[in-house]
């Protein structure tokens, strides 16, 4: 009820802080299979409720159910599991390498592996992702060499980016992976621009924009939605809601809008929420959105509801701002275990094979790591030359940089 008088300032708070008991009772989880799958040319006005639901395929019994199920073959599912397991193992090794002082910084995906690994499989060669720092699954699932990723993380002599970028800020045009800036939200509008260019050129390729829950507060996010909506750009607008922006819970960026997907509604953009820990659901929704883009139906906004089980980065300690057991209480579970259980349920996988696959993957990752470390780590062994520091600022080095390079004695 409205009450006139002294004004009160409102600051949203998460349900629980350290020391408290994790509580996700406010997160409404619809039953797997319960959300309908509209045709891609559906009138956006008739599916506004999808911005407040969660599309899910895998149920608690490990079955794939409902209208979004059935798109992937057994082989593709097994491959998807392997990608997620590889990313998790890769993360664990690189996290450890950072702790051993082999690089300055690392960011892991723990709990969010399904989002980027499954999304990649919904795209076609030539499509372009504009990722943030937590979508390395796009590279892993596209067969980008792990050694090259590690060379970048170590900023060593074989680093394709010549030691110029922070660890994990990869770039690969060939693999549809736009250079990660490290600034937040700036690339969301660039993805829309890329998609506009593809439409201007009467091409068939589409773009995918990526952003986290916290960064949706940046004005570039809103600019991107305006441009995507106005020009019906062939782009998939991804919002990865992993609940935490470093120490800030998602309610600070979300405000009163209910969900992040709901941000798209005012722009007339079809906006869906999906279980981000459900490999099959992520893939199915991504494919739906990609098909819309390719069919000249314009942008789709997709919110992936997931949980950042690890720290924001190696420079972060989540125990200072959220209960330690919170990730165990996350109601959408672990994406790797859920897909594993589904494959076991289907009779094409087993605990033994899983254990064996874990060992094989670890061996592969360690072999890649050894190879990468043969090219050096941040503080030891081969490194990019000081001369490289001066190259590539411009296509052609201008006189003032030439003079400075001479002053530097290289």
């Amino acid at each position: 009820m409205a009450d006139a008088g002294m004004l009160r300032f409102h600051v949203p708070e998460p349900e629980v802080r350290p020391g408290g008991t994790p509580d996700f009772s406010n997160v409404t989880i619809p039953k797997a299979g319960s959300v309908p799958r509209p045709e891609i040319d559906v009138d956006p006005r008739t599916i506004r409720d999808m911005a407040f639901s969660i599309i899910r395929v895998l149920n608690r019994a490990g079955e794939a159910v409902g209208p979004w199920a059935g798109l992937l073959s057994d082989q593709e599912l097994l491959e998807g599991l392997r990608h997620m397991m590889t990313l998790r193992t890769f993360d664990a090794r690189m996290q450890m390498a950072q702790r051993q002082g082999k690089t300055s910084f690392y960011m892991q995906h723990l709990g969010e592996e399904a989002v980027s690994c499954a999304f990649r499989k919904a795209l076609q060669p030539g499509d372009m992702n504009f990722p943030t720092y937590r979508q390395a699954g796009l590279l892993i699932a596209d067969g980008y060499p792990m050694v090259t990723m590690m060379n970048q993380i170590y900023s060593n002599e074989a680093d394709p980016l010549k030691g110029r970028q922070l660890p994990v800020m990869y770039s690969s045009k060939e693999h549809g992976f736009f250079s990660i800036s490290g600034n937040l939200a700036t690339q969301y509008i660039q993805a829309v621009g890329w998609a506009m260019a593809s439409a201007i050129s009467n091409d068939s390729r589409i773009a995918a924009a990526w952003i986290g829950d916290g960064s949706t507060a940046e004005s570039d996010f809103h600019a991107a939605l305006v441009f995507a909506s106005t020009y019906k750009a062939p782009v998939v607008l991804n919002v990865v809601n992993n609940q935490w922006a470093i120490s800030t819970f998602q309610g600070i960026a979300r405000g009163g809008s209910g969900t992040f997907a709901a941000r798209g509604l005012g722009f007339g953009i079809p906006s869906l929420r999906v279980d981000g820990n459900d490999y099959l659901a992520v893939h199915a929704v991504a494919k739906w959105a990609a098909e819309r883009a390719r069919a000249n139906l314009g942008p789709t906004l997709v919110e992936y509801v997931t949980y950042r089980a690890g720290a924001h980065s190696t420079s972060d300690d989540p125990s200072a701002y959220r209960p330690k057991a919170e990730s165990d209480a996350w109601p959408l579970g672990d994406p790797v275990i859920r897909l594993k259980n589904h494959l076991i349920h289907k009779g094409i996988w087993s605990e033994d094979r899983h254990t064996q696959a874990e060992a094989e993957i670890l061996e592969t990752v360690i072999a890649a790591q050894k190879e990468a470390e043969g090219h050096g780590t941040l503080h030891a062994g081969g490194k990019p030359s000081t001369r490289d520091m001066f190259e590539g600022v411009y296509a052609e080095m201008p006189p003032h940089l030439r003079r400075q390079r001479q002053q530097a004695g290289v």
């Binding site: 260019a197 600019a223 991107a224 296509a395």
Partner: protein, 337 residues
């Protein structure tokens, strides 16, 4: 040879570029159907279609951010920011993204964009239509920064900018759109149709980036200027009778240091002028370079004439604007020092 105003020359540069290269795309606020508030893009949508020239939402970060994405795709966007005073929402996109994309991706992605914007004062535009923010861009590694001073240069430099493989900030001194304004606001301006630099050849030509031009030969003192101040400096030289050499920098980044150094070594004195505010202005960089490269040839301290360190005022425009009287005083003081 045809004579054109600066706006016509700029429009012709885009027209020629769009005609030669399908990848050139032009957009911005009011740029499409209407042809821009200064009419720089008039007729381009009708000629090249709505996919090549169109209106954008009022979102400078959106305009520049989308242009970066288009450039990464392989197009060559030439976008308009309606006034340089409005570029700040796009500053992050320019500084953190456009300027660094080639470097941080080691050439995997590049950003051949041009961001055009009218700059400078003299039109009673107040704080929001008069600023000269060039130093905010010359400080950024990876950008090129151009300030043309006449129609002939504007066309050749803009075509060169559009064809350049890196991001270019193209600042158009709006007080020069119709003629070579020399700071005498109470006198009519000679139209470009009566000025030799209003001669603009048809078709394609370029003026290389990074090359200054000497507009007035002299032996007593070198004046380093760009944009509107090129004419103010020439007027000051005429009115004081001082044999000043006026160097029109044309490109601020990369800078034509050789031309500057040769001139200052010849004259032994130097005055730097710009409309932008004094403190940490581009003039500070010029003075440093002159000091580093010409110290033993200097016979007087290098002087600076610039906008006062206040926001650009409205009613006091001509007290603020560094006109020929102020530049003339600096010339006299530099010669007497």
């Amino acid at each position: 040879m045809p004579r054109r105003t600066m706006i016509e020359a700029i429009r012709d540069a885009m027209d020629v570029s769009m005609g030669r290269d399908e990848r050139v795309i032009v957009y911005g606020e009011d740029v499409g159907f209407f042809g821009g508030v200064f009419r720089a893009t008039q007729g381009l949508q009708a000629k090249y279609g709505k996919s090549r020239c169109f209106d954008a939402p009022i979102s400078e970060s959106g305009i520049v951010g989308s242009a970066i994405g288009m450039a990464a795709y392989g197009l060559r966007p030439c976008v308009e920011v309606q006034f340089a005073d409005y570029v700040y929402p796009a500053y992050d996109q320019i500084v953190s993204e456009a300027a660094r994309l080639r470097y941080r991706s080691n050439g995997d992605f590049t950003c051949p964009i041009v961001v055009r914007m009218p700059t400078g004062g003299g039109i009673f535009g107040g704080q929001t239509h008069s600023q000269s923010p060039e130093a905010l861009f010359t400080h950024v590694s990876g950008l090129k920064v151009i300030v043309p001073s006449n129609p002939h240069d504007a066309k050749g430099l803009l075509i060169a900018a559009i064809e350049d493989p890196d991001p270019v900030i193209f600042l158009e001194p709006k007080r020069l759109y119709n003629g070579p304004f020399d700071g005498h606001h109470d006198k009519p301006v000679t139209p470009w149709s009566k000025h030799e630099l209003g001669e603009v050849p048809d078709g394609h030509y370029t003026i290389p980036l990074g090359k200054a031009a000497i507009r007035r030969q002299g032996s007593a003192v070198t004046v380093l200027a760009y944009g509107t101040m090129v004419y103010v400096a020439q007027a000051a030289a005429e009115e004081t009778g001082i044999d000043a050499e006026v160097v029109d920098l044309r490109t601020l980044l990369p800078l034509d240091l050789d031309t500057i150094v040769a001139s200052v070594k010849k004259t032994g004195r130097c005055v730097v002028v710009h409309e932008a505010t004094l403190t940490s202005g581009f003039g500070a960089e010029l003075v440093s370079l002159v000091q580093e490269n010409c110290f033993y040839h200097l016979e007087a301290p290098v002087a600076r004439v610039a906008g006062w360190d206040t926001p650009y005022p409205h009613a006091q425009e001509w007290d603020y604007f560094p006109g020929p009287a102020r530049v003339g005083r600096a010339l006299i003081e530099t010669l007497e020092a």
